[in-house]
Symmetry: C2
Subunit: 204 residues, 2 copies
DNA sequence: GTCTATACAACGATAGAC
DNA sequence: GTCTATCGTTGTATAGAC
């Protein structure tokens, strides 16, 4: 659209003059459209149109729609190493609070639409669930729980994930009130004890 | 819908002999296919084939695919009153346990695919989220929490929902191990205290 | 001159509508 | 059944960078 899809006359064939980065434009457009429409709802043509290029460019640069999806949506907007470090910076007894607070502020500021897109991808595209699982378990949960150093750390990790995912589903996707509009600190007070118990408390 | 007036004598041609109810057969088939494939994945043709009728019948009876979806999926064969009664049959101190156990045994026996379908509908179909929310909050959560009789019952209800939805997402949709394979009683031991605190404990 | 990023046309499949 | 629209994808000619 604003990207200069058709600048007055018909788009010219051939290589564009220097500086344009079709690949990056496609990733930006794909992120937006996948977020809005979901994997199946997003069409290659719509993404290409938003990027101001031809649909064939998707196959040229990413091989397929699925390749573009992997590049655009599954490359999350945060560094797992940074995240783990930030969570571990402090007392283990407050880890639950930091996790809930970080989770909510992160997704609140990104608008929640990204989280919805992620859930939509997971529910409709088996590949996404697998990739996300490996990513989370290996790079975030693994690092954090190794530092906590306690038994059943894999089970505890999935328990933590369950409460966080559910909180995101209710807050961002389904938007059940009043939870969807509850301020972050109230949420921390309510949910952090749950996370803390899953991390370091008795679970059986 | 756009039916009713046209189901008289004008539709004689091709009508099946005695007793068969194409409309009901379509709803049954649609329920199964929508559950299995999600809204986008379910095709009108597949539904019609399962019902043993022509695809044109969908348009005839329900106007469109979306009309059929509304009739089939959003009217679940589900008794909220029964559910609420079953949950309330016992001590309030064990309510968390009963909720987790009922949730898991219900969805475990239906295979988990149904839960996935529900989440898929919610994430991809805004209408479904609204209808489901009203349904749950009004008929199930409302009744249960009124009996518990405590402050902030709406907030508590959404907190409970968040843990249950998240547990289902991890167990049935994303299938994160080991939670996905953990037996029901171990899950109850781990998660019930969370639910119980959301219901009757301090949350702020 | 060579390479390649690009646009365009068209294909086969498949959907919902009529 | 047929029609029409649209999907993801592929083949190919070409404009421009190097």
């Amino acid at each position: 659209m604003t990207k200069g899809a058709t600048q007055g006359a018909a788009r010219r064939r051939g290589r564009r003059p220097g500086g344009t980065d079709t690949r990056a434009a496609l990733i930006d457009a794909a992120r937006a459209v996948f977020i809005e429409q979901g994997y199946d709802g997003a069409t290659v043509r719509a993404i290409a149109a938003k990027a101001g290029v031809d649909a064939a460019m998707v196959n040229h640069w990413f091989g397929s729609k699925e390749g573009l999806f992997a590049e655009a949506v599954l490359k999350l907007p945060f560094s797992p190493h940074e995240l783990a470090e930030r969570l571990l910076d402090g007392d283990v007894d407050n880890l639950g609070q930091r996790i809930v607070r970080t989770f909510l502020t992160t997704w609140d500021t990104t608008g929640g639409g990204v989280f919805t897109a992620l859930m939509r991808s997971i529910t409709s595209h088996e590949l996404a669930a697998h990739v996300l699982r490996d990513f989370l378990i290996k790079h975030v949960a693994g690092q954090v729980l190794k530092s906590v150093g306690i038994d059943h750390h894999e089970f505890r990790a999935t328990l933590v994930a369950s409460q966080l995912v559910g909180m995101g589903m209710v807050r961002y996707v389904a938007q059940f009130e009043p939870l969807a509009s509850t301020d972050v600190e109230t949420m921390v007070a309510a949910v952090a004890p749950t996370i803390q118990r899953y991390l370091t408390g008795p679970i059986s």
